[in-house]
Amino acid sequence: MFYRLGGIHHTNYQSDRRVLVYNFDRLQVGVVLVLALSAPLWMSKLWLSGYLLPWVVWSAAALSLNLLMGWAGQIHLGYAAVMAIGAYTAIHLGHAGVPLELALIAAGLASAVIGLVFGAAALRVKGLYLAVSTLALQFLVQWIIVHVPAIGGGHLATIQAPPLKVFGLEIHSEAGAYYAALAWCTAVTLFMINLQRTALGRALVALREKDYAAEVIGVNTFYYKTMAFWISSFLGGVTGAVLTLTYYRAVTVEQFSIDVSIQALAMVIIGGLGNIVGSFLGAGFILLAPSIINNLLNWFSGQLGFTLPVAWLTNIQMMTYGGLIVLFLVIEPLGLAKIYFNIRNYFLVWPFGYMKRQV
């Protein structure tokens, strides 16, 4: 219907190598980009800084985690800890007067180094043991933040973020913070899109599919696994710093608890492993699901004529959230991305459904 295809006709290599092959896809990406850029103009401030900004940052986080889980096939249960290292590094450096750009890079490096130490310990083994070792990273980082006053600022402390300055310009408005987050998210997305087409990306995919086979055809698996950990932790650290600097504006240890790690994991898996569109959909789904569930429950109870206690609501919300993860894994293990691509492939050849074309 929208795509109007009678087959894909490539007449030169340039068109064959394009990232987006169809006109409609290009149009779609263009529309999304224009909507994202003009969001401060047509969106209320509450929605902009309450929903769109965290979605954008968390999409970047989901993409970075997807690099490790979807592309390299390694599991990480402590991604929130990696983000916390980045956030705390950036905030402390920012207070020490380091320019924001340098602080962000330092945040990424700190996360990458610490993340790699734990990853490298576990890279000797795989699967379950990696999961448990990253879980240990999560608890250790949380414990250190709480118990080392120089880092966490004492028991149950909150550290205010330094003012957001980009290239010497101080940013106060919600729109400015949103644009900073959007810029980072776009950078991560472009990196991930291009990664798929590089030797590194292909090596990671080979590694994920079967590490023996990859080793046999000459992929240095240890090097590439380390690389995946390094890049993913770096991006995660910067994303954590961006998250605190633009969205939370202060940092406490609860923002990066084990539940947040599971949330990041759920974004990647519900969105779809190894899929870029999926990471955006997954992040949106996980962030919006609680408030949608809440509103639905309130609406139902309003219809039935009674009000639900607040404590009960938060628990039901958590229960539905866990239930959704279980349901997704049982019904559609490839996640939202698979659903999106099913719909897209249906419309790709619309009146002629018997042509099962997949691009």
Partner: protein, 294 residues
Amino acid sequence: MDLLFIFELIINGALVGLMYALVAIGIVFIYKSSSVVNFAQGSMVMLGAFLIWSMAEQINLPVWAAVPVGLGLMYVFGLLVERIALRPMVGQPVIMIIMMTLGLDIFIRGLTPAVWGIEPRPLRLGLSQEALFIGDMLINRSYLIGGLAALALTGLSALLFKTRIGIKLRAVSDDYVASWSVGIYVERAIGMSWALAGAMAAVGGGLWGSIQGVDWSLSLLLLKCVAVAILGGLDSIGGAVLAGLMIGILESVISAYLDPLVGSSREVVAVFIILLTIIIRPYGLFGKEIIERV
């Protein structure tokens, strides 16, 4: 520091460690039969504790009836979890299966407070709370009873592997296809191991609940129990007991000496043990050395 104090720490730590081992054995059961690490074991302990509490206090069953009923309910719960959530995941990558157990964990942690509320509930199993002196050493009586019960149950579960059902479970853990071909109902065996893990969680929940009260914090046992299971080797019950003892003793001794310096060092002992185990001896003390390294 006097010797008596250290002995006291060691004995109380060992008893706590036995109770960790009791919960960790649930993880070992499931890992042995289906190579899945159950990250929902902590919240299953919490659910079991709440079920026993509910039987005893809300339905007003006597204690000797409430515990078996709670156990039975958790047995059924384990069967259901395997049937509904885990069986469709057979053959999926390990990431998906870990995510599934984490999803279950969140689900149960939402379900229990939604049903029973968040305030801690005292669970009275009729154990006396007064201190017990052996010679000059002070021993926590509920730890003693819990530790002995844990030891007895561990012995029972080790014996279970000598019975007909246990041999089936062992066969399944060795090789699915071979077990199928000699006529073992593999799905039922895996379901059985989940059910047994559920029952173990209920016992653990009852013991822990009677000591520290029944509330959400019981689900925090997960980290300790994962540490115990990993250190013992994920597929060894004897290993879990020994590892439980080690972790319990280390925790109690280290926290007694380090807490004045850094504060609540108890929580990180398990973390360091996990890390050291993975670095030095990933298959644990008694686990099978079949870890792939690439």
